[in-house]
């Protein structure tokens, strides 16, 4: 097994009086092929942890290695490159561009890799097939139901076959049926070999994960598996 994500003693402190310690000395490792769920109440620091782990933000101290690269010393440009080439993110609010077709939204996942448009679309069609939305490929993104939109967002995250996919409250804006469908899809993608980290405050979502990391007050209070 190879560590795709290695977080060591990560701290994130926001300045203020008093300073806010959102993440306090967190350490964990995600191996290739894992499906990990980070669960915690609102304010437990899980979104901050996601920001750090997904290379969207830098830790105040500690080290974070994404695909073997410590992000602390990377320039903003190279960190962006890491996100473009190695990571995929699924957002609670889908973040689809409503004026684009479903295919073009998915193809955006490869936009900043410099892949030519034709190849992007071909990859997008394939990704849409994986999430079962081939029949919606030509529709405008805002014509889809919430569940479908989140599947499009998942297709966008996996279109470049990244080494690690993060999903932030992927069912947060969905009804329970759509939410269950999305979780099932994430499970399928994981069985096909995609490494996935899901962040949620929802116990039902947490129950679907194979490895559970529970956070409280910026610290990991329970980790059901993996190397600490």
């Amino acid at each position: 097994m190879t560590a795709v994500l290695d977080v060591r003693e990560a701290w994130k402190v926001y300045p203020g009086t008093p300073p806010v310690e959102s993440v306090r000395g967190v350490s964990f490792t995600v191996e290739r092929g894992e499906l990990t769920t980070v669960v915690g109440a609102s304010g437990s620091g899980k979104t901050t942890l996601l920001n750090l782990a997904a290379g969207l933000d830098r830790p105040t101290s500690g080290t974070i290695r994404i695909a073997g690269h410590p992000i602390e010393n990377l320039s903003d440009r190279m960190l962006s490159g890491l996100r473009a080439h190695r990571l995929g993110v699924v957002f609670q609010r889908f973040h689809l561009l409503t004026h684009l077709s479903v295919t073009d939204n998915v193809a955006m996942g490869l936009l900043y890799r410099g892949v030519p448009a034709g190849l992007r679309r071909a990859a997008a069609s394939e990704a849409l097939e994986r999430v079962g939305l081939s029949h919606r490929a030509g529709h405008r993104a805002d014509r889809l139901s919430g569940g479908e939109q989140q599947r499009v967002a998942i297709a966008r995250a996996v279109v470049g076959r990244p080494e690690l996919v993060f999903a932030d409250e992927p069912t947060g804006n969905l009804d329970s049926v759509s939410g269950a469908g999305v979780l099932e899809l994430l499970g399928e993608l994981n069985r096909d070999g995609t490494t996935i980290v899901v962040i949620t405050h929802d116990a039902k979502v947490a129950a679907a994960g194979r490895r559970l990391i529970e956070m409280r007050d910026g610290r990991i209070v329970r980790d059901s598996g993996g190397t600490p």
Binding site: T47, G81, A84, H85, L97, M108, L111, Y112
Partner: protein
């Protein structure tokens, strides 16, 4: 299996930048149309002003060219006590012998004589028309032409015939020579034998009935002294001739002779048009500035509204420079669109105005090209600050839920 250790920067293909930038424009059409309006108004004002000025100047220059700047008039001056002094009877002859003079045409206004359509019209209703004695040299010297009929010549100058200026014929209600029209001049009937085309440099002839010097002498006792002499010189000698004219007309007291150059009025209009252009181009520049501020404003609002999209792009791997380039290009495109609309509108306005005035349409190409370049430059400059703000939106913005 080992992880690839190669780390590559993100890359946005140049071919993808344009769709990325226009995508943002397509979603906010109404507001963007309004924001390009400022630029369009400024550019169209400048293009139209330059086009209209150039067209009118071209028209003035063409008229000057046609009419010539070498026409001068010599007329009664005044002496030291302010009393009008008539020209000597020999003035036309002596002027003709001046070097550089090509043509001379003496005319004499017959004071107190009016021209009327019939003998029933009260004498005080002159219609602003006057009666002048002239000879065959008048039309060639003024480079005029007859509209209908013919001009006076030595053969018929002694008969009771008259040639009407264009405005005079209109005032008298005589459009052509059908029915052999007659007019009532100083208590006698004169037959109209011709009507002149408008004379731009000699409006006084336009409003006159012309009779021969022999008729004037016989019917009204005119002494043959001209009151106004038209002089056409060789163009390159115009300045020298104009300085000699007074002495040539009245060698004994040249200061009692007035000399003018009718084309000076047209030349003055060219200069007036130039200064008016500067004013309106200045106003157009202010409109452009306001337009640029408008674009900057819309772009800043756009950045605020699209923080989530920017965060998404950053999360998908866009570097700051990619986000900045997207917003700069958006702003540039707004400027370009405003420029295209403005240039077209300016050209249309110029065409309409020029057609309405009967001018040749002349839009300076540098106004068209300059207008577009200026609009693009303003769009780009207006986008710099918003683009910097967009580039500074952190990638974590995508994860905010409210």
């Amino acid at each position: 299996m080992t992880l690839s250790t190669e780390l590559r920067p993100p890359r946005l293909r140049a071919a993808d930048l344009l769709p990325v930038a226009t995508g943002g424009l397509r979603t906010r059409r109404a507001r963007l149309l309004l924001s390009i309006l400022g630029i369009a108004i400024g550019i169209s004002a400048i293009v139209a002003v330059l086009g209209i000025t150039r067209s009118s100047q071209a028209d003035l220059l063409a008229r000057l060219d046609r009419l010539g700047t070498n026409l001068m008039t010599v007329f009664n001056g005044s002496n030291l006590s302010g009393r009008e002094v008539p020209l000597p009877a020999t003035a036309a002859l002596t002027i003709r012998h001046t070097e550089g003079v090509e043509a001379v045409a003496p005319t004499a206004e017959l004071d107190g004589i009016g021209v009327y359509r019939s003998d029933l019209i009260p004498p005080q209703i002159t219609g602003g028309l006057s009666v002048r004695a002239a000879d065959s040299s008048l039309v060639p010297t003024l480079r005029g032409a007859t509209l209908v009929g013919k001009h006076l010549d030595e053969m018929i100058g002694g008969y009771p015939v008259t040639v009407l200026g264009h405005a005079a014929a209109k005032t008298l209600g005589i459009a052509d020579l059908s029915g052999t029209p007659r007019v009532w001049i100083g208590g006698r009937w004169y037959t109209v034998i011709g009507i002149l085309r408008p004379l731009e440099l000699a409006a006084e002839i336009d409003r006159s009935a012309l009779i021969g010097f022999p008729s004037a002498a016989r019917d009204f006792g005119h002494n043959g002294r001209p009151s106004r002499i038209y002089v056409r010189s060789r163009t390159e000698r115009t300045q020298a001739v104009s300085e000699l004219l007074a002495r040539a007309a009245n060698p004994r007291s040249p200061h009692e002779v007035a000399v003018s150059r009718p084309s000076d009025a047209l030349t003055a209009r060219l200069e007036v048009a130039d200064s008016a252009t500067a004013l309106f181009v200045g106003l157009g520049a202010v409109a452009l500035l306001v337009g640029g501020v408008g674009i900057a404003n819309v772009m800043i609002v756009s950045v605020l509204e699209r923080r989530a999209e920017i965060g998404l792009r950053r999360a998908l791997g866009a570097a700051r420079r990619h986000v900045a380039a997207q917003f700069i290009l958006e702003s540039l495109l707004l400027g370009f669109a405003g420029g295209v609309v403005g240039v077209l509108a300016g050209a249309v306005i110029t065409c309409v105005v020029a057609a309405g005035r009967g001018w040749q349409v002349l839009i300076p190409p540098e106004a068209l090209g300059g207008g577009l370049v200026t609009a693009v430059a303003i769009g780009t400059l207006s986008g710099i600050y918003p683009a910097m703000r967009a580039a500074s939106v952190p990638p974590t913005e995508a994860l905010r839920t409210s």
